[in-house]
Symmetry: D2
Subunit: 351 residues, 4 copies
């Protein structure tokens, strides 16, 4: 395919440009007879939307979801769910300056190289706005996973070099950066505001913990559960890396240290991060993604225009100085999509 | 699918268990009229095979490839290439002890949980032996990529905590660990031998550099080039993480530091690792994978048997104390498969 | 997938129920830089819409298309086209009577068996209304095929046992049944009106002729061009059979009669219908589909309700006594979708 | 994909040329824990093999199957089954004469147009020999379907214009043409032998009846059960058409005649052929395929060579004057593959 679909038995297809008329998603393969409504989905949309705090862009996208198909009398029917969000408050004027220049860190150059044409307004299809459809679809998957006893929780563990020292799950949604350590959160927010004032941006690390997945989920050899989760996460624009369990640290460990032993109660450790041989072990699935600093900064940067002439550019407009807090619900959504898909694939294999 | 196929327009499907009669691969979507023979493929097989040095298992797999279809008078015909390797020198006796126990770090437990049955001999389908088919198919992709002016080179940058300080490409195939720094290689080998004597194992980091990819390759939004490369690499058993360009280090950088500027000559840096917005920039594509320590160690480990009773286990048999040198050709093969597939998808989109 | 997507490199995904809020389609894999607008698509929608003549239902669906993404300044950008049609003039009251009974010939029973729940309003997802999205997407494919010099034309050749004796292509759109023989059309219309008055319906045969396809299009062995066309046509609700070239008549011919010979000018006959070995010959691709009589009739019929109790039912509401004239544009749309997809796949194979 | 795979959750990929070293198939998505062996598969292979009677080619292909993976101690493990048949008794000399000429009715011309190169020996990949892998995989699907209580039976109903008047299921495998009417079989065989002596060939019609499929199998809207069966059957080289239930005859029926009513006992007729709205009704699934006369005849035919020069050609070698009896097991195999795939997809949807 051309790349706008994800999943196999639980499959989503997204559409829409940042400053087009709407963005949205078709969700195919939804189990019938499940109660779900727009309010349930809206909860996740609101976690992703801009303007939530001092550290997110004041831009208002009005992420109000409408379900136009697949629901009858409050229940899913097994036919495709279509979810749409109409765009509003688009100030294309903000972007006119960059119509003919390539913003450093953005996909302006690569899109033009690939397609020979691009909708530059608000980054068009390459905008983070595209993830709105993912989060809406992810909420549908989350609802199905709830029926399976699976929960998915992501949170910031590091921003601008400041790391969380504690894991206080109940505090995650209580601070603007969705950090698992409220003390670290305070320093992270201060750092972000300082950088925002300087016209700069920073990155961070987001961790995701998936609980309640029975052993046996995942399809060897290519569609390993961690392989599909890796693809899902790297398909998020700002993500530059992923690791599972001990991850990169495993490269410096000994087999005698890294191997997860077992006793009558189950695994005695979880260095593997809940997946061995591409199949869930029954333990928590733990992954971390590296989030790059937001590309849009107002500091002057060296670039060229579409004619190849050098120029400096300042990315005006309203942007997130750190995207971590808004990536958290996107990471959760992608994890939900992968898990629900693999649960259905396991059912097909066993049938 | 059930997970044994990879790729879309250039697609491989593998089969085979470690101690079954054979392993192999069907390669579909091969450009017709390309000259390729078994000798060309064998070169890559020999880089993957065991018994290459003191730091690899002495086990002989006789990785001799036979092409049984898709070639006529030395050229590809556009029909599926079928490549098979018959298994030999299988000492299933070595594995009888672990028929009823779960080896720590291995997929014994998860396979049994998933399928309710498993071929324990030599780890069955979960064995690294499965990658033989990938390397054979990857060689076919490599040949097609040569015609596109693309080269793919992987090498070890760290083993057991010992890091390469220099990048000497011509030295990679000259040392047993395929390290890019011959001095570091000497210390890595000593470390591996020391651990092997102790019945332990270690991990490392393998980097892959892809040169010559024109700008515009990769399919947003889900099939980003880095997303598909991430899936490809995480589908390799021992890989626990991946990063592109500055990777995890980007999480501590500022936007003003990380953004790759441009001048009349092109990009002035490559922090992105050759991919922006999921599409190739034209610069080198650079990725690194975290390789966990080999699970098979002869030190006693705590585990349970299939009846849930606790026991200690020593994984006997012949194993690699560090898998990095043999993962290098597998990483290259997977990268070749992803690239060739995306070149074909770009052609379809433009058509 | 769950079955709501079609195509591989040119791929559509449809959504929507007959009496839901909207129906529509996402078209992925559209060649960038192509000029297309809503007016071009509307022409095909108007050929499919109800209320075109005395032989089609007076129901008004207001098939007005809106393109909400994938177009920038009048040209395709290579990102997904999203096309939506909002539903209006829905008289669900018409259907309340059949909420708890299974209409003979309709998918009421099978949908309930499959999903355990159904949206009975206007047949929900099983309604012919679903084909609106196909026709809209087919128009996009048609535009791309125009650039390839390919034309697709379907027409009625038989209705209610009345057959066309002549082929007058310029007359097809000039009569209410889209027959290629205007004299036969007069008799067909009279027959349909007679049956409509009697509360009954009839079927017919629609032929499709595809011109300008170069030799070499089609992917052996499973994705043969005729195999994919057959799937495409049988995915249309009322179609019960398909044949290519001489079709079923070939079963009574001799090899010496059926084989298409060649001379310096090319093939001397086209019994194969333009496809041999699943690959286009360069000749016209000719196929015929069998259209069953419309299931909705107002004559009393024997059926059971959802409790299994026997009852008679009259399908009230506004229906087409013969669906052939409105299936013509759907057949063309599906043919366009298959062709464009295979042109792109051929480009990928050759790349 | 390039077209050599079929199915989604139960997926096969075939390889091999007629005069290459082997043909075979990888079967992915096999339910684990099922007892199956080569002898079970061989039964179906023997029904497809040449040399079974006076009306089939004396060519011996030695269709002996070997399963090289996916089985452990007599049971499937859930990993890919690999089944191979090595080619023998290849008389390429028979074909040297047609290396540079296009045989009427064969894919010689279209393959060369598509790929720019072709393996002409025994028709290469376009040979009926390719179906050996399908029949082997179909046998695996048949075994899984047995556990579901589903049976698939195909038989000849017409050859050379001679039609079966009776349906005697127990007689199908008792006559050389696999006709359901032994009296008609006698005349069919005489007709075939007469045509063979004259150096000509003939076609026929094969019907397939699938029993025991529960209601609810099939995936609207594009992957309707009949749509996928149509693709499966049209992917068989000699098939030129397909119809379900009343099929083309439905085009001349009235709605009041064609609609299948229901009473307390279920459907009172089966004009639909067991599928409504693309979903199984629970009744027998009945389809018929049109088989063209064998292309290979020894009568002189007009053609051109690869240089475009006109010439006459006689297709020497050993061929089937009528392929119907050998297509019967292929039709059954394809039906089994579609059904097993859809059963697994239904399980995924419901999960």
């Amino acid at each position: 395919m051309a790349g706008n679909s994800f999943g196999e038995q639980f499959r989503i297809t997204t559409f829409g440009e940042s400053h087009g008329e709407a963005v949205g998603v078709i969700v195919d393969g939804v189990t019938p007879g499940i109660e779900i409504d727009e309010a349930y989905i809206q909860v996740q949309m609101d976690r992703r939307k801009p303007g939530q705090s001092s550290v997110t862009t004041p831009r208002k996208e009005y992420d109000t979801v409408s379900i136009l198909s697949g629901i009858y009398e409050g229940q899913t029917t097994g036919t495709p769910l279509f979810i749409i969000l109409f765009n509003k408050d688009m100030k294309s004027g903000d972007y006119s300056e960059i119509q003919h220049a390539f913003r450093p860190g953005h996909a302006d150059f690569t899109y033009l190289q690939k397609y020979g044409i691009r909708d530059h307004r608000g980054s068009g299809r390459a905008s983070g706005r595209e993830t709105a459809g993912r989060v809406a679809a992810g909420a549908v998957a989350r609802k199905l996973l709830e029926h399976r006893g699976v929960s998915v929780t992501a949170y910031t563990t590091e921003i601008g070099g400041i790391r969380c020292e504690t894991f206080q799950e109940d505090q995650i949604e209580q601070n603007a950066v969705r950090a698992c350590d409220p003390q670290a959160a305070v320093r992270m927010i201060a750092r972000i505001e300082e950088l925002a004032d300087a016209g700069d941006s920073c990155g961070g690390i987001v961790e995701c913990r998936i609980r309640g997945v029975m052993p046996g989920i995942g399809e060897p050899v290519f569609d390993k559960l961690d392989a599909d989760l890796a693809k899902a996460m790297l398909s998020i624009g700002a993500v530059k890396g992923i690791e599972f369990g001990t991850g990169f640290a495993a490269s410096a460990m000994l087999g005698s240290q890294h191997n997860d032993g077992m006793d009558a109660a189950g695994f005695t450790s979880n260095h593997a991060g809940g997946i061995i041989g591409g199949i869930s072990t029954g333990g928590d699935i733990v992954l971390r993604v590296a989030v790059k600093p937001t590309s849009s900064i107002s500091l002057p940067q060296q670039t060229v225009n579409t004619s190849g002439q050098e120029q400096t550019i300042r990315t005006e407009g309203r942007h997130d100085p750190c995207i971590c807090p808004r990536i958290v619900p996107v990471v959760e959504a992608m994890a939900c999509l992968v898990l629900e898909d693999h649960f259905k694939r396991q059912a097909a294999m066993k049938a």
